[in-house]
Amino acid sequence: MRGCPGAPRRRALRPRDTGGGCGEGARACDPPTPGQDPRHAGGTRRLVLEQLYNAIFIGSIYALFAVGFALVFSVLDILNLAHPTVFMLGAFAALFAIGTLGLPWYVAVPFAVVASGLFGIALDRIAFAPLRRRGAPPLSAMISSLAVTLIVVRLVELRYGGDFITFPSGTVPSFLIRIGDATLEGVRLAIILLAVGLMAGLTFLVRQTQLGRDIRALAENPRAARILGVDVERAIAATFFISSALGGLAGVLLGFAYNSVDSKMGLPLELRAFTVMVVGGMGSLPGAVVGAYVLGLGEVASLVYLPAELRDAFAFGLLFLVLIVRPTGLFGQRATDRA
């Protein structure tokens, strides 16, 4: 069980993640220290630009992760504590496809996304459907998803061990882009563009398609939706597929960006996803996207200005503050007693 004595410590995202677009070990690029740069003003601008770029990259990962989390919450009122596990599974599915099956990355990514989505449906059938049928309170769903997490994390560790694993060399795309003075990692740019595209796609899906209408009807009132002929179980399965596919994709992309995968990689995102959702307004999808970028920017800024021990302070301080000052978040419409 997590947090038991002797269990591995929870880690925050590693500091190098925001250190100027330079993945450790994989590639060598000059550290963006202004002091070493002869053109000091240009160096500072470059630093700012690179940090901004990192913030947007981190925000994109948060957004992909949190949107799936918020989708399940908004539709079913479930805090799915297995979402970080889906994130981790996505990365491992890609590792399996590349390392074991020998597939190229552009096949491995869709493979991992579909595998994560299917896992999401299985998760619902095993952990949530039995509880839903008898109208159990949301607390029960939190605990059953936690149980699934325990099981799945252990299964992955039995196969791959608990340490960091890198993708086989040369299998993960890697290239650099220069914009002005700043050197940017191409993979991160691709991730940002992909994330933005997917958000737009999800918005279209939820707003404009029949499936989206079904899902929204379900979120509004499951009983009424059923009476009006919505195939509720199908809409729920679709919700879990979409949510988990996005979560798994976030895992794959983060694994690619850092070239590192491990069984606990989802944990730092769990509490951050709470922050993102609360800042944006619980269950609001646009809110989750905005919240994710706010958190990404804030975290990178606090890394620059605050000592390293306070790295996590921003996320949780912000979370607490928003709950106290404006519990409905930026885009929340419903009152605080929605629970």
Binding site: R2, G3, R134, S140, L150, E270, D312, F320, I324
Partner: protein, 291 residues
């Protein structure tokens, strides 16, 4: 026979101590759950109790029982303003807000020199005896058992079932919620002090999200209907990892399966095994289950 018992006690004394402390923690979250409030701040109150007790002893030479009492009292004092602030939130919001408080506290502990930062405090004397833990547990369990029938307990039950109805009956909802929260913090703070004097060292990450969720699992799996549930739950889920040692690699998997089975088939917790049929009946007629 007696020798065998003593052997068992000495071989497993740490485990037995942990069972007791975890049972106290589970009871601390039971109080708020009994009043219908889902709070996840008890790991943080445990941290307050542990740190205050350890620091008082180290720097002021405060005797052990007094240090424990101060730890528990400070935890309860912290709970008052926190409770006043967060109790306009409900359900999941309340859970997340209390969780966020825990994380903020953890970050503060990490950044403060006097608490030893990330290294935590080491060399805390192992003063806690088994009887300290089990006497505390007996007292807390007895008080909580009695409370169920008292005015406070009935008010809590009323608030849990329907806040608006409770308020219309003249129950001071906010005050009773706060009382449950503070009582939980008091017990968690005391348990934190006790546990710090078992484990020799404490560090901020001992009291993180995982711990908060673990405490909740003890209480919910054990069952909310009465205080025996959390004690059962804590005993089972603390002892289970040890009992499953032969299974080693599959321990977590088995634990997860047990957790899943309990939450799906015994929604009101282990203490309701005997009422399984009645629970089914209630579900059939559509009565919502507690917690």
């Amino acid at each position: 026979m007696i020798e065998a018992t003593l052997d068992f006690l000495s071989a497993y004394s740490t485990l037995i101590a942990l069972v007791g402390v975890n049972a106290l923690l589970a009871l601390s979250v039971w109080v708020t759950l009994y009043a219908g409030q889902l709070t996840l701040g008890n790991a943080a109150f445990m941290a307050v109790g542990a740190y205050v007790a350890a620091l008082l002893e180290r720097h002021l030479g405060t005797p052990f029982p007094l240090a424990l009492a101060c730890g528990a009292a400070v935890a309860a004092l912290v709970a008052v303003p926190l409770g006043l602030t967060v109790f306009r939130l409900r359900g999941v919001y309340l859970a997340i807000a209390t969780l966020a408080f825990g994380e903020v506290l953890r970050v503060i502990l990490l950044a403060t020199p006097i608490t030893g930062g990330g290294q935590g405090l080491n060399g805390i004397p192992p003063t806690t005896e088994l009887w300290h833990i089990y006497l505390s547990l007996a007292v807390v369990a007895y008080v909580l058992w009695r409370v169920q029938g008292a005015t406070v307990g009935r008010a809590w039950a009323a608030v849990r079932e329907d806040e608006i109805a409770a308020a219309s009956q003249g129950i001071a909802v906010r005050r009773y919620k706060l009382a449950a929260f503070v009582a939980g913090a008091l017990v968690a703070g005391w348990a934190g002090g006790l546990s710090a004097h078992i484990t020799f060292s404490i560090e901020p990450n001992d009291f993180a999200f995982g711990k908060a969720v673990q405490i909740l699992v003890f209480a919910v799996v054990g069952g909310i209907p009465n205080p025996l549930g959390p004690i059962f739950g804590a005993a089972l889920f603390t002892a289970l990892p040890e009992l499953l040692r032969p299974l080693r690699d599959y321990r977590d998997i088995f634990q997860g399966l047990v957790l899943l089975a309990v939450i799906i088939y015994l929604p009101r917790g282990l203490v309701t095994v005997s009422q399984l049929r009645r629970t089914r009946r209630l579900q059939q007629i559509g009565a919502a289950d507690v917690a």
